[in-house]
Symmetry: C2
Subunit: 671 residues, 2 copies
């Protein structure tokens, strides 16, 4: 690549873009770790985007109608930090840049959305940013339909690398965006032909532009170092009503000794080579030093959107009080005031009607009353709508011709769905929930983890939660998935026992602001277990005494979900033999763990034999059986120890010994 | 669709294919669950394939050189069972067909490879079959290069549905197969335009033929009900040196009232409708009844390959004894005789050299001595070769021009890699291992579960196993992943503490025949902890006493991997204060759980305080801290309780309090 020619052709642009290059090189060298080559290669695209197209006001990184910028190739985090610092973001200071990748810095190795307002998403696990961006774009369309384009009218820009496009989730994202014709989405592909193991060609020969076009995208191919070509391509992308992919031919680590090599992907820390590169770029001065006229030009760029923002605020101020309050409430993620009363009214009804239904149906019954009063919910399913019970009667279908619809047919794309929902939650103004079979938590797993890490309240509706799924067999029968969800930090796992618990669990899920919820629901029907109206949300304590022992308390049965009724039946049998037995329903082990010790001891006092019953593996139960306190006690677990099998559900419960009889026997053997 | 025209045009073919349709309809109706429409729609393709092209001998379903048939759309399992029964498979009898989806039957809801030899793979989680088929095709190429085409020369045929193609893993598979130009792979796409939620168009608008072609595939589009078109397309696919995709336009539930509807995807159980459908097909007779001339035609088809098989056996018999034994050993999955001595020799060396290295480097040191004597290993990495330390000096690269190479550049495709490795293990003759970061277990998870369920010894090499990864931060730092692996049934999780334990763990992984292994390895260096030569493989017991208490045993420290040296340092500090402390290294909790109680009690006797230290979440540890026995004892856990952070590794260990000091303090607080 002829650097001198680039410099000569667009000297001003070159110096502005090279400010990014220099900062990235310096910060990575100082941290002695990180990725220098990508920010260096994509500096031109980023400079044109951030100075001519991106709608933002750097001083107000949380302006609701800003364009979103998502660095899907998150390892190039110094690109984002450089842009934020240069443009005048209040949180990403030069001090932060100097502390790149150090404990406590906002400038983590990969962008972390919770460390600075200017960072839209946590990226790094490849493909996730691209997949989340589809959710951002859907959120924008949905809110525009709801609140009008005077309040909501922005775009989502993404930089994706070869890694993002090789990850399978990219296909789910591309196909979904193409099908939904998300014209507000623009993806730059950093086509640098380099991955960690070498040239892309060692592992891939895909014609990416053709692949995107095959899913209905508008595709352009440009020289990613030519500012005029970049500018023209972005303009064309904005004008087209399809999602746009701009393939940007770039040179990783442009102008560095490591240019166009996989070494250039990583940390460039050789002083001499770095000096030589800077000199070739025509960049003088000490590390981290940005010439004032360049910094000032960038700050002007960062202020470009201020008049837009002010005009937007003026428009917002003109709204009726009610509409403005609703808009603000929606964006803040605050639940509607009516939610609590709606849930209470439903609970009151349920005490009367005692529906004997599958808990997936329970969930639908809750959503039927919640969705009408909660216009920010956006439901969906990965092609299991009728099985996940996620579509309520009032939602309408989100589609090209009906952006006001509130139900997305995600297709057979659990991973893409989960990531898209994360994008909506991050965008704000949408409370996404989406369904699949609980076993396919496996497919959605990378995005479910990112929901927890990003501290967003995505709701994963996971039905067919055990061997109770029956004939479909072990590929579809989760056994380890409750343990997986519970092992994941900052995640609420709910396994309601009946419709009342489902209502309480949904109330909690819909009022979370900083953690995702997993609703674990059954295929098979269960009796109602809550027969008394309690105004209090009992699920909020994680576990509670559902049925007290009569006579001397000799045993405590712990159960979740469909096994609560198994425990109740076991209790009946034990009481009939004079064995006083308490049943504790434990819809959320995480919330129970968060209660104070006094409450935990009240629910699980020492002394009685304890038996837990859950149609999954026992991993994680020992804490509640043995580990919570130092006193000797006897305890056992009734559940699964391996994979399931294909047969009718009732036969499987008998076959694997998850029955009231087995629980009662276990208690008796321990007494 | 004009059924009468189809019948009239190819009357014999029609009746033979309709035998499949009738069996599928009958079996699903009898089970009152399952999927009728897909077998009915794909019966023509399957009939032509199995009667004119597929190389097999139904009576010998495990003939090594058979073509492989993989039903990626596993919900259509009755298609496979019908074919096996009709063609004369010894295990899939009419009785089994009648017991479809019942407890104990070989005819599970989805095909399960461990239930009958004629079932190559477990499928159902969509896209997995397609992704595994790439591994089958690579295995065939690799073995052909090694043993010659007289012994190995077969194809892999796949039926994939719309769901398979929507799942992201399909893109990883398609791109990898295209890049590797796997001409021995033929995929039929059941292009029926129907998914569970409705027409494909509600969620997808992808031009699939173009998408495949963009990754270098040979693509044809045909009428999937026209036997001559099917025949010609298969011939063309076989003749082309690229992987082939045949888009078969079909009608789901052809000729049934539910034809071309999403209802047709599921269980068709309406007696009247079923009767009408059969009558329209021209099918008479009782349920499950196949006219003798049709059964006999099918059995002839199933014997078609017998002469081929006999000729193959004659060729195999002519091999030298040594070559035949090696071929048989390789296919049987038996480890080389030299393996044990090789590991012992390495261990002897290690006691002398005491290398202070990262355990990922330990793993490489083991592979450097193992790969030369274990020609069936096929290594690889998802674009992290230098980080995963998976490529040893002798392997060569598997590529179009070098099928004898034993290292695959999988690209940034953890899921596709894991699934392809499963395919190789199922094919037989290959012992696949492949690497990525442990955190990206998340991406590979659906295939890792299928390895366990399918009872195959795939080895997952997972490096950068904790916050010890350092600056890349929480997106790349596993904390819940040890719990995830340990929660998964039939999976061995190894976390070796040093090179000696790594050698023992690899010996165990390479001698497994029916369960996968996860090698959990560090980025950061650790001292050697094993200083004495033991001929016995200590890892085989899962846990063992690494350092005994001096004086009265007051504490037992339990640790894995890099935290074993933390525990040893804590022991030193405690012993200095006169607190007798035992250190137990626990490289595999699963194998320890399999030991008899006497051994477990010897390693973890009651009485002393117990503290476990592991740089992950505590879920699952309570069993070893509290839960194993009924006696009172005091115990604690030192590890992670949330996500990590971005900073140098040593600072993170200090920040999160995973230090020798913290462990010693915890012990003292409990004493």
């Amino acid at each position: 690549m002829d650097i001198d020619a680039l410099k000569a052709k667009h000297p001003d642009h070159w110096r502005r873009a090279t400010a990014i290059r220099a900062l990235a090189l310096d910060a990575v060298a100082q941290a002695n770790s990180g990725h220098s080559g990508m920010p260096i290669g994509m500096a031109d695209v980023a400079t044109v985007l951030w100075s001519r197209h991106l709608k933002y006001d750097a001083a107000h990184p949380d302006w609701a109608d800003r364009d979103r910028f998502i660095l899907s190739a998150g390892h190039g985090s110094m690109l984002l930090y450089s842009l934020l610092y240069l443009a005048g973001d209040p949180e990403i200071t030069l001090e932060e840049i100097r502390n790149f990748r150090q404990l406590g810095a906002r400038t983590a190795g990969h962008p972390e959305n919770f460390l600075a307002r200017g960072i839209e998403t946590t990226t790094g696990p490849l493909g996730q940013g691209l997949a989340m961006s589809v959710g951002f774009a859907i959120a924008e369309e949905s809110l525009r339909a709801r609140f009008g384009e005077k309040l909501v009218d922005h775009k989502t820009y993404v930089i994706a690398g070869d890694g993002c496009l090789m990850e399978g989730v990219s296909q789910e994202a591309i196909a979904l965006a193409g099908r939904q014709k998300l014209g507000n989405l623009v993806v730059f592909w950093d086509n640098n032909n380099i991955t960690i193991d070498g040239e892309v060609s060692i592992a891939d020969a895909t014609d990416q532009p053709t692949r995107f076009a095959a899913s209905g995208w508008h595709v352009q191919e440009i020289d990613g170092h030519d500012p005029e070509a970049i500018d023209a391509a972005i303009s064309a992308a904005k004008a087209d009503d399809r999602p746009s992919m701009i393939a940007c031919k770039t040179h990783i680590a442009l102008g560095h000794a490591a240019q166009d090599t996989s070494k250039g992907h990583g940390a460039l820390t050789d002083d001499d080579q770095n000096r030589t590169a800077k000199s070739g770029w025509g960049w003088e001065g000490a590390p981290f030093e940005i010439p004032e006229e360049i910094k000032s030009w960038w700050e002007d760029a960062g202020r470009r959107g201020a008049p837009d923002r002010e005009a937007w605020e003026a428009r917002a101020a003109k709204l009726s009080d009610a509409k403005r309050r609703e808009f603000e409430r929606t964006l803040s993620g605050e639940a509607p005031k009516k939610l609590s009363a709606t849930i209470k009214a439903l609970k009151k009804q349920l005490v009367e009607s005692k529906p004997k239904v599958a808990t997936r149906k329970s969930s639908e019954m809750v959503l039927e009353v919640v969705n009408p009063i909660c216009p920010e919910t956006l439901g969906g399913s990965a092609d299991l709508t009728g099985s996940n019970n996620t579509k309520t009667s009032d939602l309408g279908v989100f589609d090209i011709e009906n952006r006001a619809g509130r139900y997305v047919y995600y297709g057979i794309r659990e991973h893409g769905m989960a990531a898209a929902m994360n994008g909506m939650a991050l965008h704000g103004g949408i409370r996404p929930y989406g369904g699949t079979f609980f076993c396919f938590t496996d497919y959605a797993r990378p995005a479910m983890r990112l929901a927890a890490l990003q501290q967003i309240p995505t709701v994963f509706v996971m039905t067919h939660d055990s061997i109770g799924l029956g004939e479909d067999g072990p590929t579809h029968q989760p056994v380890e998935h409750l343990a997986i969800c519970r092992a994941t930090p900052n995640t609420l796992t709910f396994r309601p026992a009946d419709t009342t618990e489902a209502a309480e669990a949904w109330e909690l899920a819909l009022t979370q602001t900083s953690r995702p919820s997993v609703m674990v629901l059954s295929r098979q029907g269960v009796p109602a277990v809550r027969h008394e109206m309690k105004a209090k949300n009992l699920v909020s304590q994680g576990a509670y005494v559902l049925a007290e022992a009569e006579g001397k308390r000799q045993a405590i049965l712990l159960a979740t979900g469909t096994e609560v009724s198994v425990a109740l039946a076991a209790r009946e049998a034990l009481q009939a033999e004079g064995i006083g037995t308490r049943v504790v329903s434990m819809p959320s082990l995480e919330l129970f763990a968060e209660q104070d010790e006094a409450y935990r001891k009240r629910v699980l006092p020492g002394g009685p034999v304890r038996v837990a019953v859950e149609a999954g593996v026992g991993l994680g139960w020992d804490r509640w059986l043995f580990g919570e306190r130092g006193r000797e006690k006897k305890a056992g677990f009734v559940g699964m120890s391996g994979f399931g099998a294909s047969a009718p559900a009732e036969e499987l419960y008998a076959h694997f010994g998850i029955t009231a009889e087995a629980v009662a026997e276990k208690v008796k053997s321990l007494l």
